[in-house]
Symmetry: C2
Subunit: 207 residues, 2 copies
């Protein structure tokens, strides 16, 4: 028996990593109280001892469970919520492919698109080392290209249906224009965004 979530700790600015957990909760018809952490405070609330005892890595989202444990890393939380449901395939190869796309998201997609979006909207882009924007832009374009190629031949990332691989990638893709990425060059991604957004119990990101 899995302990259910009792509280979700999220960021005070609209974060795709936090949103993806809220979207998955909504898709599964689950509700969970939320605590908003001020990550722009000095020091950020996520870097203070009380929060570090939940996640020594000092990052949100964190999901607290009834047994008192705390789970970090957005995609690990998605796995926890979805395991045993149609959102996480049971077949070993499809399960591994779901995780393949989720690791791709955290390695090739988020560190470029989400970081550039943060610098555009809340950070100090001009204060970054020379070449930072170009490096993040190139990485983000590469990630979007890989996604476009896959979605040209597939409606979803894995198993021809909505899984947590889609939820993980949807989070920062649909708000990539915040970071100056134009999605009109990616028609398959645009159709996939419409497809994901039209699901029952879809939840919009708060902005």
């Amino acid at each position: 028996m899995r302990p259910p979530p009792t509280r979700l700790f999220i960021s005070s600015i609209p974060s795709g990593n936090c949103y993806k957990v809220q979207l998955q909760l909504s898709l599964q018809g689950m509700r969970c109280p939320v605590t908003v952490m001020d990550i722009l405070a000095d020091p950020p609330e996520t870097r203070r001892p009380e929060f570090l005892s939940r996640n020594p890595n000092g990052r949100v989202p964190v999901m607290q469970l009834t047994d008192g444990s705390n789970l970090a890393e957005s995609n690990a939380i998605l796995f926890y919520l979805s395991a045993g449901t149609p959102f996480f395939p049971r077949h070993p190869l499809l399960a591994a492919q779901t995780l393949q796309w989720m690791f791709f998201e955290q390695y090739n997609h988020e560190p470029n698109i989400a970081v550039l979006r943060f610098l555009y909207r809340w950070g100090n882009l001009e204060g970054q080392p020379a070449g930072t924007e170009a490096r993040l832009r190139a990485g983000g374009l590469h990630a979007l290209g890989v996604m476009e190629q896959h979605l040209t031949r597939n409606d979803y990332f894995v198993a021809n249906r909505l899984t947590v691989a889609d939820v993980a990638l949807f989070a920062y893709t649909h708000i990539a224009p915040d970071a100056g990425f134009s999605l009109r060059y990616y028609p398959a991604i645009c159709k996939w965004i419409d497809r994901v957004s039209s699901h029952d119990r879809f939840l919009k990101i708060e902005d």
Copy 2:
């Protein structure tokens, strides 16, 4: 029934991401033919059409299976190999915690320690934008600090036994000195490295 691996594509330079798959195969007593891809060629063999048809992201490791499919992302491959064995806990919370550390590895650890190691040994560190080394160094020290704190109270990352979370983190941690990180400031990590290395069927990285 899971298709067994028929071939593993790895890098021509000693890569922790490729090594972790070879280590896991060894721990499970499995063997698999290897194809070495020249990633320092121009263009790298991993960015040529034949390989991109296996992994459009252009990265190794890639594991080919008997059904003809190809699985990418080192940690997704570890999941595939270990699912159903003691190396991947069956309990949902422990399974999610295993993945939590594997996502931490790919987000906070590898992009700092592995990238700095590459620049030290094969890349052009001097040619990087100002501040690159300092940024990667700070990120790597943070990741090692989070690991040290956990290992001060635990022999392994999850479930008090060797899992793929340890294998994933071991790969670039034990060779962090290649990137100028001194492990003598991390006594709990050093003991954990000895603990992992002493397992039956442990495999050393080739260098």
